[in-house]
Symmetry: C2
Protein backbone atom coordinates (compact mmCIF):
# COMPACT_ATOMS: atom_id res chain seq x y z
CA UNK A 1 0.00 0.00 0.00
CA UNK A 2 1.78 2.26 -1.39
CA UNK A 3 1.40 4.97 -3.64
CA UNK A 4 -0.34 2.67 -6.00
CA UNK A 5 -3.79 2.60 -4.46
CA UNK A 6 -3.37 6.24 -3.62
CA UNK A 7 -2.60 7.16 -7.23
CA UNK A 8 -5.52 5.18 -8.52
CA UNK A 9 -7.83 6.89 -6.06
CA UNK A 10 -6.48 10.31 -6.94
CA UNK A 11 -7.02 9.64 -10.58
CA UNK A 12 -10.52 8.40 -9.90
CA UNK A 13 -11.57 11.63 -8.25
CA UNK A 14 -9.90 13.55 -11.04
CA UNK A 15 -12.02 11.65 -13.55
CA UNK A 16 -15.19 12.22 -11.57
CA UNK A 17 -14.61 15.92 -11.70
CA UNK A 18 -14.39 15.73 -15.47
CA UNK A 19 -17.61 13.73 -15.73
CA UNK A 20 -15.74 10.61 -16.78
CA UNK A 21 -16.01 7.10 -15.52
CA UNK A 22 -13.68 4.89 -13.59
CA UNK A 23 -14.00 1.63 -15.45
CA UNK A 24 -12.46 -1.74 -14.73
CA UNK A 25 -10.18 -1.28 -17.70
CA UNK A 26 -8.87 2.08 -16.58
CA UNK A 27 -8.39 0.84 -13.07
CA UNK A 28 -6.39 -2.10 -14.35
CA UNK A 29 -4.21 -0.09 -16.72
CA UNK A 30 -3.57 2.47 -14.04
CA UNK A 31 -2.50 -0.22 -11.65
CA UNK A 32 -0.16 -1.74 -14.20
CA UNK A 33 1.39 1.66 -14.79
CA UNK A 34 1.75 2.44 -11.15
CA UNK A 35 3.42 -0.89 -10.54
CA UNK A 36 5.86 -0.40 -13.42
CA UNK A 37 9.09 1.36 -12.80
CA UNK A 38 10.31 0.95 -16.34
CA UNK A 39 8.99 2.69 -19.45
CA UNK A 40 6.64 0.28 -21.22
CA UNK A 41 5.05 0.92 -24.58
CA UNK A 42 1.39 0.36 -25.44
CA UNK A 43 1.96 -3.28 -26.34
CA UNK A 44 3.88 -3.89 -23.15
CA UNK A 45 1.13 -2.39 -21.05
CA UNK A 46 -1.42 -4.36 -23.01
CA UNK A 47 0.27 -7.67 -22.50
CA UNK A 48 0.72 -7.11 -18.77
CA UNK A 49 -2.91 -6.08 -18.45
CA UNK A 50 -4.13 -8.85 -20.72
CA UNK A 51 -2.73 -11.35 -18.25
CA UNK A 52 -5.25 -10.04 -15.70
CA UNK A 53 -8.15 -9.44 -18.05
CA UNK A 54 -8.13 -11.33 -21.35
CA UNK A 55 -11.10 -9.38 -22.64
CA UNK A 56 -9.15 -6.14 -22.73
CA UNK A 57 -8.39 -4.73 -26.16
CA UNK A 58 -5.36 -2.88 -27.41
CA UNK A 59 -7.57 0.00 -28.56
CA UNK A 60 -8.56 0.56 -24.98
CA UNK A 61 -4.93 0.75 -23.97
CA UNK A 62 -4.23 3.40 -26.61
CA UNK A 63 -7.37 5.32 -25.69
CA UNK A 64 -6.55 5.16 -22.04
CA UNK A 65 -2.99 6.27 -22.56
CA UNK A 66 -4.20 9.29 -24.45
CA UNK A 67 -6.70 10.07 -21.74
CA UNK A 68 -4.14 9.66 -19.00
CA UNK A 69 -1.76 11.87 -20.88
CA UNK A 70 -4.23 14.70 -21.39
CA UNK A 71 -5.18 14.41 -17.73
CA UNK A 72 -1.53 14.76 -16.86
CA UNK A 73 -1.42 11.42 -15.09
CA UNK A 74 1.32 10.00 -17.26
CA UNK A 75 4.09 11.20 -19.51
CA UNK A 76 4.72 9.96 -23.00
CA UNK A 77 8.20 9.64 -24.42
CA UNK A 78 9.21 8.81 -27.98
CA UNK A 79 12.72 7.45 -27.83
CA UNK A 80 14.57 6.53 -30.97
CA UNK A 81 13.01 3.11 -31.32
CA UNK A 82 9.98 4.89 -32.73
CA UNK A 83 7.26 3.74 -30.36
CA UNK A 84 5.72 5.78 -27.56
CA UNK A 85 6.73 4.76 -24.08
CA UNK A 86 4.96 5.81 -20.92
CA UNK A 87 5.62 6.45 -17.30
CA UNK A 88 3.47 7.81 -14.50
CA UNK A 89 3.88 11.52 -13.97
CA UNK A 90 3.79 11.88 -10.22
CA UNK A 91 7.47 12.35 -9.84
CA UNK A 92 10.02 15.06 -10.33
CA UNK A 93 11.05 16.15 -13.77
CA UNK A 94 13.89 14.13 -15.19
CA UNK A 95 15.54 13.17 -18.44
CA UNK A 96 16.60 9.77 -19.73
CA UNK A 97 19.73 7.86 -20.52
CA UNK A 98 19.04 4.87 -22.76
CA UNK A 99 21.43 1.94 -22.85
CA UNK A 100 21.97 1.35 -26.55
CA UNK A 101 22.72 -2.30 -25.97
CA UNK A 102 19.98 -3.37 -23.60
CA UNK A 103 17.39 -0.65 -24.08
CA UNK A 104 17.38 -0.06 -20.34
CA UNK A 105 16.37 3.43 -19.33
CA UNK A 106 18.10 5.32 -16.53
CA UNK A 107 16.57 8.52 -15.21
CA UNK A 108 18.57 11.55 -14.22
CA UNK A 109 18.08 15.24 -13.75
CA UNK A 110 20.40 18.18 -14.01
CA UNK A 111 19.37 21.64 -12.89
CA UNK A 112 22.56 22.98 -14.46
CA UNK A 113 21.56 21.71 -17.87
CA UNK A 114 18.05 23.05 -17.43
CA UNK A 115 19.43 26.45 -16.59
CA UNK A 116 21.71 26.43 -19.61
CA UNK A 117 18.82 25.46 -21.84
CA UNK A 118 16.75 28.38 -20.63
CA UNK A 119 19.67 30.72 -21.13
CA UNK A 120 20.30 29.52 -24.68
CA UNK A 121 16.64 29.76 -25.59
CA UNK A 122 16.30 33.28 -24.31
CA UNK A 123 19.43 34.34 -26.16
CA UNK A 124 17.77 33.04 -29.32
CA UNK A 125 14.62 34.97 -28.46
CA UNK A 126 12.55 32.04 -27.28
CA UNK A 127 10.98 30.78 -24.13
CA UNK A 128 11.03 27.04 -23.64
CA UNK A 129 7.69 25.27 -23.71
CA UNK A 130 9.13 21.81 -23.23
CA UNK A 131 12.29 20.01 -24.08
CA UNK A 132 13.63 16.60 -24.83
CA UNK A 133 17.01 15.42 -23.69
CA UNK A 134 18.02 11.85 -24.24
CA UNK A 135 21.47 10.40 -23.85
CA UNK A 136 22.21 7.16 -25.65
CA UNK A 137 25.12 5.38 -24.06
CA UNK A 138 27.06 2.25 -23.53
CA UNK A 139 27.87 0.88 -20.12
CA UNK A 140 31.43 1.47 -18.99
CA UNK A 141 33.34 -1.26 -17.24
CA UNK A 142 33.11 -0.51 -13.53
CA UNK A 143 36.32 1.31 -12.63
CA UNK A 144 36.35 0.83 -8.89
CA UNK A 145 35.02 -2.61 -8.70
CA UNK A 146 36.90 -5.73 -9.62
CA UNK A 147 35.05 -8.29 -11.66
CA UNK A 148 35.15 -11.79 -10.31
CA UNK A 149 37.23 -13.67 -12.84
CA UNK A 150 37.48 -11.21 -15.65
Amino acid sequence: MNGIAKRVAAFESQLRKAGLRMTQQRRLILRILAESDDHPDAKGIFSRAFACDPTLSLSTVYRTMKLLETQGAIERHAFQDGVSRYEHADQDHHDHLIDVETGAVVEFSSPEIEALQAKIASELGYEIVRHRLELYGRKLPAPSRRKARA
Copy 2:
Protein backbone atom coordinates in the same frame (compact mmCIF):
# COMPACT_ATOMS: atom_id res chain seq x y z
CA MET B 1 33.54 25.37 -56.63
CA ASN B 2 30.94 25.18 -53.97
CA GLY B 3 30.87 22.53 -51.35
CA ILE B 4 28.00 20.95 -53.18
CA ALA B 5 29.86 19.36 -56.05
CA LYS B 6 32.63 18.50 -53.65
CA ARG B 7 30.25 16.68 -51.35
CA VAL B 8 28.70 14.78 -54.22
CA ALA B 9 32.13 13.74 -55.46
CA ALA B 10 33.22 12.68 -52.00
CA PHE B 11 30.12 10.61 -51.61
CA GLU B 12 30.63 9.05 -55.01
CA SER B 13 34.07 7.74 -54.15
CA GLN B 14 32.72 6.55 -50.82
CA LEU B 15 30.09 4.54 -52.68
CA ARG B 16 32.62 3.12 -55.10
CA LYS B 17 34.61 1.79 -52.24
CA ALA B 18 31.53 0.00 -50.94
CA GLY B 19 30.81 -1.53 -54.34
CA LEU B 20 27.73 0.61 -54.80
CA ARG B 21 26.66 2.72 -57.73
CA MET B 22 26.36 6.42 -58.21
CA THR B 23 23.03 6.66 -59.97
CA GLN B 24 21.24 9.68 -61.35
CA GLN B 25 18.72 9.46 -58.55
CA ARG B 26 21.35 9.44 -55.84
CA ARG B 27 23.19 12.28 -57.45
CA LEU B 28 20.01 14.32 -57.62
CA ILE B 29 18.92 13.65 -54.05
CA LEU B 30 22.39 14.41 -52.82
CA ARG B 31 22.37 17.72 -54.62
CA ILE B 32 18.96 18.63 -53.22
CA LEU B 33 20.20 17.85 -49.73
CA ALA B 34 23.40 19.79 -50.15
CA GLU B 35 21.48 22.80 -51.38
CA SER B 36 19.01 22.69 -48.49
CA ASP B 37 19.79 24.52 -45.33
CA ASP B 38 16.55 23.60 -43.62
CA HIS B 39 15.50 20.17 -42.33
CA PRO B 40 13.24 18.64 -44.97
CA ASP B 41 11.39 15.37 -44.56
CA ALA B 42 11.20 12.61 -47.16
CA LYS B 43 8.20 14.18 -48.88
CA GLY B 44 9.88 17.54 -49.00
CA ILE B 45 13.01 16.09 -50.56
CA PHE B 46 10.89 14.09 -52.93
CA SER B 47 8.91 17.07 -54.16
CA ARG B 48 12.03 19.18 -54.69
CA ALA B 49 13.69 16.35 -56.56
CA PHE B 50 10.55 15.49 -58.48
CA ALA B 51 10.66 18.94 -60.00
CA CYS B 52 13.96 17.98 -61.66
CA ASP B 53 13.14 14.38 -62.44
CA PRO B 54 9.45 13.44 -62.60
CA THR B 55 10.27 9.75 -62.91
CA LEU B 56 11.72 9.64 -59.41
CA SER B 57 9.76 7.65 -56.87
CA LEU B 58 9.25 8.27 -53.19
CA SER B 59 10.57 4.80 -52.37
CA THR B 60 13.86 5.77 -53.86
CA VAL B 61 14.01 8.80 -51.65
CA TYR B 62 13.42 6.67 -48.57
CA ARG B 63 15.92 4.09 -49.69
CA THR B 64 18.49 6.72 -50.47
CA MET B 65 17.99 8.45 -47.15
CA LYS B 66 18.61 5.22 -45.36
CA LEU B 67 21.72 4.58 -47.41
CA LEU B 68 23.04 8.07 -46.84
CA GLU B 69 22.40 7.72 -43.16
CA THR B 70 24.26 4.44 -42.81
CA GLN B 71 27.11 5.93 -44.83
CA GLY B 72 27.18 8.82 -42.42
CA ALA B 73 26.48 11.39 -45.10
CA ILE B 74 23.34 12.77 -43.49
CA GLU B 75 21.73 12.93 -40.11
CA ARG B 76 18.20 11.93 -39.39
CA HIS B 77 16.13 13.70 -36.78
CA ALA B 78 12.74 12.66 -35.48
CA PHE B 79 11.23 15.75 -33.97
CA GLN B 80 7.90 15.60 -32.24
CA ASP B 81 5.85 16.03 -35.39
CA GLY B 82 6.41 12.34 -36.01
CA VAL B 83 8.16 12.37 -39.37
CA SER B 84 11.88 11.96 -39.97
CA ARG B 85 13.72 15.06 -41.06
CA TYR B 86 17.16 15.13 -42.58
CA GLU B 87 20.18 17.36 -42.89
CA HIS B 88 23.62 16.81 -44.35
CA ALA B 89 26.19 15.77 -41.82
CA ASP B 90 29.27 17.69 -42.87
CA GLN B 91 28.91 20.42 -40.35
CA ASP B 92 29.63 20.95 -36.73
CA HIS B 93 27.57 19.18 -34.17
CA HIS B 94 24.59 21.14 -33.03
CA ASP B 95 21.21 20.73 -31.39
CA HIS B 96 17.83 22.13 -32.36
CA LEU B 97 15.30 24.57 -31.06
CA ILE B 98 11.91 24.06 -32.68
CA ASP B 99 9.37 26.86 -32.78
CA VAL B 100 6.17 25.23 -31.56
CA GLU B 101 4.03 27.67 -33.49
CA THR B 102 5.72 27.78 -36.89
CA GLY B 103 7.76 24.57 -36.88
CA ALA B 104 10.87 26.59 -37.74
CA VAL B 105 14.09 24.99 -36.61
CA VAL B 106 16.94 26.98 -35.13
CA GLU B 107 20.31 25.37 -34.65
CA PHE B 108 22.52 26.01 -31.68
CA SER B 109 25.35 24.37 -29.86
CA SER B 110 26.53 24.49 -26.30
CA PRO B 111 29.83 23.01 -25.25
CA GLU B 112 28.81 23.57 -21.64
CA ILE B 113 25.78 21.35 -22.02
CA GLU B 114 27.82 18.74 -23.85
CA ALA B 115 30.33 18.70 -21.03
CA LEU B 116 27.60 18.33 -18.44
CA GLN B 117 26.08 15.47 -20.39
CA ALA B 118 29.36 13.62 -20.48
CA LYS B 119 29.82 14.19 -16.77
CA ILE B 120 26.35 12.92 -15.92
CA ALA B 121 26.74 9.87 -18.11
CA SER B 122 30.04 8.90 -16.61
CA GLU B 123 28.67 9.32 -13.11
CA LEU B 124 25.98 6.84 -14.08
CA GLY B 125 28.61 4.51 -15.47
CA TYR B 126 28.02 5.17 -19.14
CA GLU B 127 29.82 6.66 -22.07
CA ILE B 128 27.66 8.62 -24.48
CA VAL B 129 27.23 7.20 -27.95
CA ARG B 130 24.94 9.93 -29.16
CA HIS B 131 22.37 12.22 -27.72
CA ARG B 132 19.29 14.11 -28.58
CA LEU B 133 18.55 17.56 -27.26
CA GLU B 134 15.56 19.42 -28.58
CA LEU B 135 14.11 22.57 -27.15
CA TYR B 136 10.52 23.37 -28.06
CA GLY B 137 9.86 27.05 -27.62
CA ARG B 138 7.71 30.02 -28.35
CA LYS B 139 9.08 33.23 -29.73
CA LEU B 140 9.37 35.94 -27.13
CA PRO B 141 7.62 39.19 -28.08
CA ALA B 142 10.22 41.67 -26.88
CA PRO B 143 13.51 41.60 -28.77
CA SER B 144 15.03 43.93 -26.18
CA ARG B 145 17.00 42.47 -23.37
CA ARG B 146 15.80 44.57 -20.50
CA LYS B 147 15.09 42.49 -17.46
CA ALA B 148 12.71 43.88 -14.93
CA ARG B 149 14.22 42.00 -12.10
CA ALA B 150 16.73 39.33 -11.66
